[in-house]
Symmetry: C2
Subunit: 341 residues, 2 copies
Amino acid sequence: MRATVRDVAALAGVSPKTVSNVINGVVPVRAETRERVESALAELDYVPNMSARGLRNGRSGNIALALPDLSTAYSAELARSFVELAHERGWAIQLEQSGNDPHREVELVSRARTHLIDGLILNPTLLSKSVVAGTAELPPTVVIGEVEPYGVDQVHVDSQGAAREMTEHLLATGHRHIAIMGGSDERWRSATSLLRMQGHREALEAAGLAVDPALNLVATQWTPAAAASELSAFLDRLDRTGGALPDAVFCFTDAMALGVLHVLAKRGIRVPRDMSVAGFDDIDEAAFAIPALTTVGFDKRAIADAALSALARRIADSHAPASDIVIPHRLVHRDSVAQRE
Amino acid sequence: MRATVRDVAALAGVSPKTVSNVINGVVPVRAETRERVESALAELDYVPNMSARGLRNGRSGNIALALPDLSTAYSAELARSFVELAHERGWAIQLEQSGNDPHREVELVSRARTHLIDGLILNPTLLSKSVVAGTAELPPTVVIGEVEPYGVDQVHVDSQGAAREMTEHLLATGHRHIAIMGGSDERWRSATSLLRMQGHREALEAAGLAVDPALNLVATQWTPAAAASELSAFLDRLDRTGGALPDAVFCFTDAMALGVLHVLAKRGIRVPRDMSVAGFDDIDEAAFAIPALTTVGFDKRAIADAALSALARRIADSHAPASDIVIPHRLVHRDSVAQRE
DNA sequence: AGCGAGCATTACATCGTTGGAATCGGAGCG
DNA sequence: CGCTCCGATTCCAACGATGTAATGCTCGCT
């Protein structure tokens, strides 16, 4: 059996509480006593029982990380940073998947209590104001990504600004017919998508160009497969109608850009010579795409760090004002965008 | 505050234990009483406190999933399946990263007890027999991947057989100088790598060919970046010495294949015309590589399912004989391997 | 030596749940 | 009518850690 504080106390010749004091280090303990206890701890290989500790002080040491689709590279990179940084703070990460299912998002928020969660980090795609507001008792929650501000702590990049910059860059390099992959329409919409569309539109309008709705490609999932199939359908449509190719595709995630690059390569459309492609996220694979992907980069570790800090603050003081932390981004210039004549 | 069994009991006019009996359903409860309790449960929106339950009966409902590198696509896909399937069994997944650090692997195994873990699913790269054997009290553990059999439940694909088949396929399509990416040598080794090398060697020898150690490319991490840099160094070496290009590269993971494809594209070495490339894992991105990657596919969901079943069995009966489940694989033929005349 | 101050340590109770033993109530039997 | 028996329910204790209040100890000062 595992050693308990009682065992350690007996071995060190002190009371259980003194052992607890040594471990937690808040109450002062005489140096000599501490030493005895510590060697007893080591000898018995004591590991605290988190259930008991959690029961006593209401903390489990677990926080949930809920991501929309765990199988994407972006999720993986984010999860990695979270696990590493949470560890440094003595937290373990419980992984949850929200899917693109709004019911699941609601359930996660309301049922988070089931599994000993001290806090919840949520990356919603669809979560709307009412969902969170409607829940009486929310666990301490930090939202990654951009949603309507509803008084919850948020950490995110400036999607709108970044999209505007990328489109400005495409315009500056001579592109005039820029398709977007991952747009929203009446069939499918997400907060992130809308913001990136908005930034894109702003850049176009500032340049005196109109938004062409035919160039808004909607992917119901932000995966390579969905993007590939959407782009194929689009190109087929162009073939039939004899429409002109766009000179660039701005993909709202790198994952979709990979699907786009694949389809273009397969059809003999050369990137960037015939068409430029830009992404968003700067996932590890982006640098190894063919050609290397020009994209919007930001520090995923910084997101995790900021989110965990915000969560720690929220747990400590549930009435603190909601924070809204913006993680800086930058355009990462690689080889998939070329200067047009 | 959250409602407790006491609150529910008071509302239903019964004792706490009766409430517990209703919830757990092992001890018979009169239908009329059960109804009263159940409506009280619903009214108070009772959620059991898992810390207390865990303290009482030693179960937390959490299992740990420890993967070597969480940022890879393969890890992400696996994690996704695990999270989904674990949920169906009422478990939550706690994510851990073992890195390629053997100390960390040891620590995970021995310290797993810290965080209320009912079981551990471990995907070791380096874990050796002694590590697990040396630990006095192992939590119920299932190993994903192939390691020396040391009496622990295992779930894995037949790496050796799959590698042999892939090399046979490359030989059958006329390749004669096959480099491997992800091999082991005195500097770096992993069980998986050694098995795949072994399968590769068997195929070569069966065809009467010798293994050329110069074609064994070692990547200290199985990432696109490491593979790209290793391949670049190799090609530079060939340039200097005027050696002949291999006609194929068999990458021991798809992630590395992506790095390899990128380097080849950048150097103008056409795939598959000048050189074939094969992978292993069939990650989602493999179908969207340029060209689409020929690889070894297997059902990641089946791995998760088998591992969870094995773990459930192990938790129920810690003395059950160790199982060794082999997940079937298949060659997935795409466009990165061509017939050499 | 005596006394209080102040720090180190202990005893006890408690967190919420659930095994196990004890108890209660009602049905069945002599 | 009383007794047994059995199923349903209750009571009690325990899981392990820790906050609180009480106690013990040492030291310095007179």
